[in-house]
Symmetry: none
Subunit: 406 residues, 2 copies
């Protein structure tokens, strides 16, 4: 019988032993009775989303967790942003992450134009009705100075460099084609940036900012060029009636959208440490009534680890543990809990260390692991899973993978 | 923060249980307190340099340990010999291992021409000023009857057979082209062997040997044809400032040279059981002052195993253990210790059995393994590493691999 699946991703879950935590990791240090109970009743292992030794990005890790080999499907960050903001993409469209920036005398003095907090609807109108050589332009603002730009049309390429100088005090970089097929894209982008910056220059919004002694948003930096590719539908691949994403962060909603999942927006789901975890769990249970698959994403542990806050990471993991109870004990549901990558607090960045994984459903082939941690799960029954092994293993346990052979 | 790396390869490390050693392997039988301490403080696993079930050669195993997939980069043994002897190679050059041999009445009576111990400078001059159809010839003698021959030029191929009959009592084999592109190489090699054997026939050196009732070096056997390929630079790949090789054997120096490492010649490093292991460790510590990476190779265990000498192998492993202390306890250094392959004393040859691996650095994710052996490391946190996983895992722990994605 086919089972339903709930996949819980704890972003940045894995860590390294921390001297101040008595040489435990935050997960080992955290009081997590529910995760430990699930580990004890379930089957555990280690999860390497890309390959041994390769630190995963959040984007590539989620592609892999959804069954798309990132070596084949990953073209860059832009399309995740676009999908997360709800911009429709067709194969061949090129998406970019953008920043409004401040340029003075040809020099980028602030890559974030003073982190605009104002309502930027007025700003976004500089992208209205833009078309160059048959290429249509879509822009959607994200938060603060951030946005997403998409070029729709034929003959475009993502094999171009960025104009972001990365370090302030430098002029914007020159956008360059990385191969011959990209010349057209470079030309269109140059015309586009020129026109947008001209419009920004005469905008009342910027005049007001200058009058208030704030930095004007008078330049546009684009990066993360990536071309939309055809993602085989996730639900179709695993024979699912409905697949939902419950996440706060735009990137994760974007990855789920690319896979063809429905994004459920939950009030209080912020993608930050202050997120309403209980509301997300409640929404997941509700989604599971109609859908065969729910992807539930918790972001806060990763944020704390990027800040080097091992106490905060430990506490966030305890908060997650405290809300999991409703997800357990459901008949005909496979519950899988893992991370997309490790984010050791000592590194404040992603690392290649694998994360633990647990899978639980009634009468599963449970092993001897009785706590959920980076070191206890090593001896678990799943062994070391790699890349798309993870989702295939979970779907296999839900009886949703196809027999190969007769 | 990026860490430095020292990779210790114990050649032929792995073995099988030996009845005479109370069913222990030499590594299990050896008294190795330092390796056991490192295993206890570090993270262990199993290392398969090629693929499960495939016995590695020393050349392919080292390619893999340096991050070059041998299926893609291995063209044969010749270029390792050439690089180890310091012959400069350009892509497309073809290198061979050679033997001086003795032929009588058209029959190879000794494939090693009586294992020449004489100073063979006189012999090597038969290769002076050879050029055929624009192809330049380089020859360098190795030890005894051995040498290395390189054809430099365009349009060459390594898809040819050897003239080594393998078994004495047979005539030299006819060198044959294995595809159409190799005809030119066969013709040049035939002319070359003809000319060299003509010169050998009139050499005073050989007249003396015959007068002394020794076997003359009157024939040249060539084998291991391999074409030089472009190896991406090891230091560049992992962002290393300096990478050194400390080894006695020419093959290992050759592999390191192909990867672009610097070869440090240490007095007393013989590549045999009598090697000065302490001097090699001291040289490694010195190299690590300037370089980010040191490859330290110990050969003797493999020699003993090829001779079936399990007592000698056990003792050599104890000798290694006794010199390791200076390599431990360095801040910001990742220490990795493993083998290139197993050489079971009972087989006297390489086998496909994985070798144990340990990695240690302060605050690593240490596991429950507390001795270093083929069987204890099975339950280690690294699981089963395969092929280029090993170097990537080590470099990942040194924070020297690139994030894939954003």
């Amino acid at each position: 019988m086919k089972k339903k699946v709930i996949l819980v991703i704890i972003d940045g879950l894995g860590d390294l032993p921390i001297p101040e935590l008595d040489h435990k990791t935050p997960l080992e240090s955290a009081n997590t009775p529910m995760l430990d109970m699930l580990a004890s009743k379930g089957i555990c292992g280690m999860n390497t989303t890309i390959a041994p030794g390769i630190p995963p990005g959040s984007d590539t890790a989620h592609l892999s967790l959804f069954g798309y080999d990132p070596k084949k499907y990953y073209t860059g960050r832009g399309i995740f942003e676009a999908a997360g903001l709800g911009i429709p993409l067709k194969p061949g469209d090129i998406a970019f992450r953008t920043n409004y920036a401040t340029v003075k005398n040809g020099i980028v003095v602030d890559r974030r134009a003073g982190r605009i907090n104002d309502d930027d609807n007025e700003l976004a109108k500089v992208f209205t009705d833009l078309e160059f050589d048959g290429i249509i332009i879509t822009y959607k603002p994200s938060v603060e100075h951030r946005g997403c730009l998409v070029l729709h049309g034929n003959g475009l390429s993502d094999k171009i460099t960025s104009n972001d100088p990365k370090i302030e005090g430098n002029p914007p970089a020159t956008i360059q084609a990385l191969d011959n097929d990209a010349d057209k894209t470079v030309q269109i982008l140059s015309k586009l940036i020129n026109e947008v910056e001209t419009r920004l220059g005469i905008l009342d919004f910027n005049k007001r900012r200058v009058a208030e002694d704030k930095l004007p948003a008078n330049a546009l930096l684009v990066r993360g060029a990536s071309s939309a590719v055809n993602f085989p539908n996730f639900q179709k691949k695993y024979g699912l009636k409905g697949a939902s994403c419950i996440a706060g962060g735009a990137l994760y909603k974007g990855a789920a959208t690319l896979a063809g999942m429905s994004v459920i927006n939950v009030q209080g789901a912020t993608g930050r440490v202050d997120s309403d975890l209980k509301a997300k769990v409640t929404a997941s249970i509700q989604s599971l009534e109609n859908d065969d698959f729910v992807f539930l994403h918790f972001k806060g542990a990763d944020n704390e680890a990027h800040d080097g806050n091992f106490i905060g990471k430990t506490q966030f993991l305890e908060r997650i543990d405290s809300v999991l109870e409703p997800l357990t004990g459901m008949e005909n549901v496979v519950l899988a809990i893992t991370g997309d990558h490790s984010t050791p607090c000592s590194l404040r960045d992603h690392s290649a260390d694998p994360t633990p994984i647990l899978i639980y459903f009634p009468n599963c082939r449970n092993d001897k692991v009785d706590t959920f941690s980076e070191r206890s799960a090593i001896s678990g029954g799943l062994g070391h899973l790699r890349g798309t092994d993870t989702i295939n293993t979970i779907m296999g346990m839900a009886n949703r993978t196809k027999k190969f052979g007769a």
